[in-house]
Amino acid sequence: QGAVKPRLTAISQWSAGSDGAAITALGKKFEEKGGIWQHSPVPGFTTEMMNKLRAQIIAGDPPACSQLKGPEIAAWSKIAPTVDLDAVVAAAGYEKVVAPDLAKLHKPGGKWIALPLQIYSTNMLFLSKRAMDKAKADKPPVTWADFNDLAEKMKTAGVTFPVANGGTRADDGQKFEASLAGISPTAYRAAAMNLDKKALEGPEIKAAFAQMRKITNWMDPNVGAQPYAINLKRFVDGDMGMLIMGGWAQGVLRNAGFKLDDFVIAPGPSDNGKPVFLLNADAFIFWQRKEPDLQAGQMLMAQLVMDPAIQTMYSQITGSIPVRTDVDLSGEGWSDGQRRTAAALKDAVASNQAVLSLAHNMAQENGLTAAMIDVFTEYAKNKTITPDQAVTRLAEAVEGSR
């Protein structure tokens, strides 16, 4: 070392908005530490990013690090050699401040090869202040029953659509996973994460589908394939009531010029009263390179990613929460929502109710996830499918893509 100037080639899909801003800030830090930052954003869907990664791996020229998450880390690590990060991770004492389920995902062969960067919960509940006022409600709902009550109240109070929504596949997936996890985290773990055959056909799944049908009945059917963000104004205006969305929606709301007191953030409904945390973590995987400058860059990047200050900076830009559970969120720059999310994560970890998000590719590899989301999205859009049928279809879909 010493002689070489650390250099990092990275690819991600973070090209615009707060994601773009955050990665840009990270790059700045990297350069401040004397590195050369060569980030190549791949616009489009995740697929395009993975195409790009695949092309570079096939070409024998993988980036020094690339965005990748969940079980895909394990899958992709089989097709190209990755960097063993155990030493840096140990040096930073990182392992003990990361949620265990999360840590497992990033050390598929027992060694750290990838590092999580930030955490979102995909089942946060955003409540429109104005809609709540209309419904004369002052408390966020805790259980699904509360949620349903509140929605009904909103409906009668003149909120056109008690649930705000987007129409993408992930949106529909989130509705299901929030339902199921809220009804029974255990069942979620068994069915969504472990694909237990019996759990997949169990009563909780059917109940989750039933709850999801209720949610979809309160949604605007006209959203089509638009992202949820298209409805933010109607949400804030009280024309729509509640939004089940990942924590990132907070950043989006604020970027769109809405104020923090326009809405309330709460953990998603949970029938047992304790918060359920649907974990979604972005991460970087590090690919083996021979070039000393790249290797130096990888080490530098790893240190940065694990650095509490960097994680703070990053999460404050994107609205996520840090991976490190030891970061103090009480200070300036953190929102209530983030604090509540972090608290929820702690609680959930304690009560073993922190589970991995299915809709955001944390629970299963992409093929399985997509097959399951097929069922959710069809169910969301086609109200003639009964929950019973949906259960069967889900089981079939899992079977078919194993």
Binding site: M50, I79, T168, D220, G224, N366, T377, G400, S401
Partner: protein, 291 residues
């Protein structure tokens, strides 16, 4: 031989490169479809497993049904639209040049943009329906984009918008090359405009029609960008199409082998369309040779 080397190179190198890439890529895909490849191509042999699972999947079944509907509806409607436009433009109307440009310009636009813009227009919440509501006609209803049964028609609409100009151009050129004397003969025979078109002019256009049908069918079968930007297969999976399924399996779901199998199935569909056409061409040429 040596003297003619440069010309052989110029003729054969591009042609061979083009032919070779097509053949080898096809063979490669066929091979992959029999392997257990997932993220990246691997060797191995799984027989027809990939085919079976593709054929059994709801995605593929819906995509195939959609392709039938979309293919037929789109080809027919764009044919009719193109023909109607061509006939209208053939009436020696003022501003023909401007109109022709208007009908052609969608060809210049990328499918992604077409899909995006039409998704705005057709979205009931933000597009035409909202506009009409805001104008005061609140019972107006146009929600095809988010209606499972009708969403495929929004793709038809956007696709027609984008490509009927091509049909129009070909038909117009065909109409313009009809021997004027034939039209005059029909006039003297006492045929009115409609009969003249129907009985005399249009029947001479059917070689063009075949060309248009083949080109549009090819477009329908490989439609991808447009659908991805417009509905992305939704609502639900109601507007899946084979090209979408292939891409999804290969790259999103990391099931390369299955994706390849779906691609091979797509090729078979293409062949089912092209072979009759090739046979028709062959018969045509044989007849021409005998005449």
């Amino acid at each position: 031989m040596v003297r003619r080397l440069p010309e052989y190179l110029m003729i054969w190198v591009p042609l061979l490169l083009s032919a070779a890439h097509l053949i080898s890529f096809s063979i490669w895909t066929i091979w992959i479809s029999f392997t257990p490849s997932t993220l990246v191509p691997v060797t191995g042999w799984v027989g027809l497993r990939n085919y079976n699972s593709v054929l059994a999947s709801r995605n593929w079944q819906i995509a195939f049904d959609n392709l039938l509907l979309f293919g037929i509806a789109f080809v027919l409607l764009s044919l009719i639209t193109g023909l109607v436009l061509a006939i209208l433009l053939d009436q020696r109307i003022r501003g023909e040049n401007v109109l022709r440009t208007i009908f052609l310009y969608p060809l210049a636009v990328s499918f992604v943009v077409t899909g995006t813009v039409w998704s705005w227009l057709l979205n009931p919440g933000i597009g035409i329906e909202k506009l009409v509501h805001d104008l005061g006609w609140s019972s107006f209803h146009f929600d095809w984009l988010v209606n499972r049964d009708m969403a495929i028609w929004t793709i038809v609409i956007a696709a027609i918008w984008q490509s009927s100009g091509f049909a129009m151009a070909l038909f117009l050129a065909g109409l313009r090359s009809v021997d004027t004397d034939i039209i005059r003969a029909a006039q003297i025979d006492g045929a009115g405009p409609i009969r003249t078109y129907w009985r005399v002019i249009l029947p001479t256009l059917w070689p063009i029609t075949i060309t248009v049908v083949v080109v549009q069918l090819q477009f329908a079968i490989s439609a991808f960008d447009l659908v991805r930007a417009l509905t992305n297969g939704g609502p639900g999976i109601a507007t899946q199409l084979p090209a979408l399924v292939v891409y999804d399996l290969m790259f999103q779901r990391s099931q390369l082998g299955r994706g390849a199998a779906a691609a091979v199935l797509m090729l078979l569909i293409l062949l089912a369309v092209l072979l009759p056409y090739a046979a028709w061409r062959y018969v045509q040429r044989r007849q021409a040779a005998h005449a």
